[in-house]
């Protein structure tokens, strides 16, 4: 293969950092959840690239588990968003400050 695997890992790092920036800067709680999906995808690319470089398939099995966890996380997270919206009529992370002293 002509493309070095380092390029895939660099792309994975770039997507990871973009997701991290998204989690930090966004104020809508649904957009924060979307950025975490982006970070999970970055990890998936890194797993598959390392797998192909090191001639193994364990990383692809773990990507399978990450897909499962992402589905569970989306279900629970969006259920929480719905519960928060029903309680507070708002999805702004700056205004959800019940636990703040």
């Amino acid at each position: 293969m002509s493309i070095p695997y380092e390029y895939y890992v660099a792309l994975s790092g770039l997507l990871m950092v973009l997701g991290l920036v998204g989690v930090t800067v966004r104020k809508n709680i649904i957009a924060v959840l979307l950025s975490t999906e982006l970070m999970l995808n970055a990890v998936n690319i890194a797993f598959v690239a390392f797998d192909m470089k090191l001639h193994d398939v364990a990383g692809q099995v773990f990507v399978f588990f990450i897909l499962t966890i992402a589905a569970a996380e989306a279900a629970i997270g969006l259920g929480l968003v719905m519960a928060i919206y029903r309680l507070r009529k708002d999805v702004d992370v700056e205004k959800l400050t019940e636990l703040k002293l």
């Binding site: 002509s2 895939y8 997507l15 990871m16 649904i30 588990f65 279900a75 629970i76 969006l78």
Partner: protein, 174 residues
């Protein structure tokens, strides 16, 4: 420049542009559409790397099932009126993110490649095929985590039902 390189550069450019859309677009519907584009681009990268099973699962689970969750919730929650991006955190997070990116690239390029290699060399892969190799590993060595994953999905389903239902329904029936 062969087909692998063309596919890599086009899919990765699409993924990065869509990721910028996910993070910085104002409207939440545009965020979802960019996320779908990014997921399909990542699936193309999986196919390009030779992981056919994961490329197909990525489209099936991520780009269809999970995105449908988000679209349903967005259609229930009304349009978000406030400011989408906080400029105060933007000033801090972008240099910090760049530093983390440099550190990740340094570690992955100079450190992690020196690990020991597994048994699935390209010749074996040519013989067995990616899907058979991954699924044989999944159902032999990782059988217990596989069963635990099904338990996690059950717990998530029950949790989503409990969190999403209305409390008043019971009282109205009484």
């Amino acid at each position: 420049m062969d087909l692998h390189a063309i596919a890599f550069w086009s899919f990765s450019a699409l993924a990065v542009i869509s990721a910028f859309g996910v993070v910085f677009a104002k409207n939440i519907v545009y965020n979802i559409l960019s996320l779908i584009a990014a997921l399909i681009a990542v699936s193309g990268l999986f196919f390009n790397l030779g992981a056919e099973l994961l490329g197909a699962l990525q489209i099936l689970i991520y780009a269809v099932a999970i995105v449908v969750f988000y679209v349903l919730v967005i259609s229930t929650v009304p349009e978000y009126k406030g400011q989408s991006v906080d400029p105060k955190y933007m000033l801090i997070s972008i240099p910090t993110g760049f530093a983390i990116f440099l550190e990740l690239s340094y570690v992955s390029i100079y450190g992690a490649w020196a690990s020991s290699t597994g048994i699935f060399t390209p010749e074996v892969m040519q013989d067995v095929g990616n899907i058979k190799a991954v699924s044989s590993m999944l159902f032999t060595k990782y059988l217990f985590p596989f069963e635990v994953a099904s338990l996690i999905l059950l717990v998530a389903m029950i949790g989503a039902i409990l969190l999403g239902r209305k409390e008043q329904v019971m009282e109205e029936n009484q």
